[in-house]
């Protein structure tokens, strides 16, 4: 499964780079056409000022507020939660509630983004029906990520972005574990059905133990590939592919954490996940970087 995942990751990467190259070529052709037409029409006095390359200048273009849409869709519609039913305790139940919001600030002409994410996660798993290794695991906590993105298509896009970036993530959480099992030698038989009148009643005399640990912490680093697309006015839609590598979990005593808020299951030290998000941008007014006359002429020629 993990090999498939890695292959897919490279596939995405190849498509990503391929798209980038095609877009760059298209843009070069576009700029050549506009360059020719610009030279023909603008007055000679302005021809010397033909450096339209965005100069680096520290300006803050806007703040984008977003929220993740993948987790709510996945947890509510794809694999919906199934809350515990005490009347049928041996069946499988699962609750997953994950929410994530993000804030990013774009600066230096859409080149860089400072990113901050905050999320909440609640995961509950009920597998009491496993006779010898039945359990209930509950994990609740929050997390944040902080980092930066670089838009490697900043020359081509005014609002959109194709980014590569890094994050540092940290989670704080509590977890609770209830374990059940049958062990004849210690006087705990397996559940059995007993007929009482016309009905069968399940008698469960397995042992039950519990562990509760609080204020556990974990941290991880991420390498991200992302895309932000301006779909309507200041509304953006996008995704992030994250390659995450975690460090040790602090605070574990008798129970190893099975889930980390923001990271997912701890079966592997490295994970690959995807987030889709919707965001709204509050754009700041910034001074135009090109001289107003040049800007005007370019706009006129482009319209023609």
């Amino acid at each position: 499964m993990y090999k498939i995942l890695i292959i897919c990751w490279f596939l995405v990467l190849i498509i990503f780079i391929k798209n980038n190259v095609i877009a760059q070529n298209n843009n070069n052709r576009l700029s050549e056409v506009s360059k020719d037409s610009t030279n023909k029409n603008i007055p000679d006095s302005l021809k010397k000022e033909k450096k339209y390359k965005k100069p680096f200048k520290f300006t803050v273009e806007g703040v984008r507020f977003g929220f993740d849409i993948f987790y709510p869709i996945f947890d509510n519609f794809v694999v919906p939660s199934r809350p515990f039913n005490a009347d049928k305790p041996l069946e499988q139940y699962r609750i997953k509630q994950r929410y994530e919001t993000s804030v990013d600030v774009s600066f230096a002409q859409n080149r860089f983004f400072a990113v901050f994410d905050y999320g909440y996660s609640r995961v509950e798993r009920y597998r009491k029906g496993l006779f010898f290794t039945g359990f209930t695991y509950k994990n609740t906590g929050s997390y944040f990520r902080i980092g930066a993105d670089y838009n490697f298509m900043h020359r081509n896009f005014k609002d959109e972005a194709m980014t590569i970036g890094f994050r540092y993530g940290s989670a704080r959480f509590d977890h609770e574990f209830e374990f059940l099992g049958a062990n004849q030698a210690w006087g705990y038989p397996t559940p059995r059905n007993v007929q009482v009148g016309d009905q069968f009643v399940t008698i469960d005399e397995r042992f039950v133990g519990s562990i509760k640990e609080s204020n556990l912490t974990a941290s991880w680093v991420e390498l991200t590939l992302g895309l932000r697309v301006n779909v309507w006015k200041q509304l953006f839609f996008g995704y992030h592919a994250r390659l995450m590598i975690r460090s040790n979990i602090k605070g574990e005593d008798r129970l190893l954490a099975n889930d980390l808020p923001g990271f997912g299951t701890t079966n592997r030290n490295a994970r690959l996940i995807f987030n889709y998000f919707v965001a709204y941008r509050l754009a700041f007014k910034t001074k135009p970087l090109l001289p107003s006359k040049v800007q005007k002429v370019i706009e006129e020629t482009t319209q023609k």
């Binding site: 298209n26 030698a185 008798r254 690959l272 995807f274």
Partner: protein, 172 residues
């Protein structure tokens, strides 16, 4: 032009990544743990204590009891004795287990001896996969001297593994 291009390809990316996400979300049950919750015990003669070679391969033991049940009872027809005893740890106690051995010197002997053994350990739980259940890693196995009446017993290997053949040596 580039803007419309990126919008067009954005949805292609979304479809691809979404399909991968669903693929990843499958929960497999691959229980590959080697951890064990059974203590393997073998019996030795006291005189061979130093080298541990004088093992009793047919040790006569009537029964082994725990606080709530019996984990071994010799069948009436069994006159060969036992070689290795597997003692399951107490599932409700994270730190210790207590066992009582009822034995006799030979099958025809009327005198039955009673020995006690208390072991302590460290037990750490983990969830292997949602469909597999939980796993327990037991290590730091030790014999509690003041709760044990057996003359001498030694820990040979202090972490429990399914491939273990010996964890505790008991000398009589």
């Amino acid at each position: 032009m580039v803007g419309s291009y990126i919008k067009q390809y954005f949805f292609l990316h979304c479809c691809l990544l979404l399909s991968i996400s669903f693929l990843v979300s499958c929960e497999d049950c691959t229980f590959t743990s080697k951890n064990s919750t059974f203590i393997k015990v073998r019996f030795y003669r006291q005189k061979g204590k130093n080298d541990g070679r004088d093992r009793i391969t047919r040790f006569i033991i009537d029964s082994v009891r725990t606080e709530r049940g019996t984990l071994y009872r010799r069948p009436v027809s069994n006159l060969t004795g036992i070689d290795t005893l597997s003692l399951p740890i107490n599932p409700t106690d994270n730190n210790s287990s207590y066992y009582v051995f009822f034995r006799r010197n030979n099958f025809t002997d009327n005198i039955q001896f009673r020995d006690t053994l208390q072991v302590s350990y460290n037990r750490i739980f983990s969830v292997i996969a949602p469909n597999c259940g939980y796993d327990q890693k037991v290590d730091e196995l030790a014999i509690s001297p003041n709760k044990t009446t057996i003359q001498s017993a030694f820990v040979f290997k202090n972490s429990l593994n399914i491939n273990d053949t010996l964890n505790i040596r008991i000398f009589f």
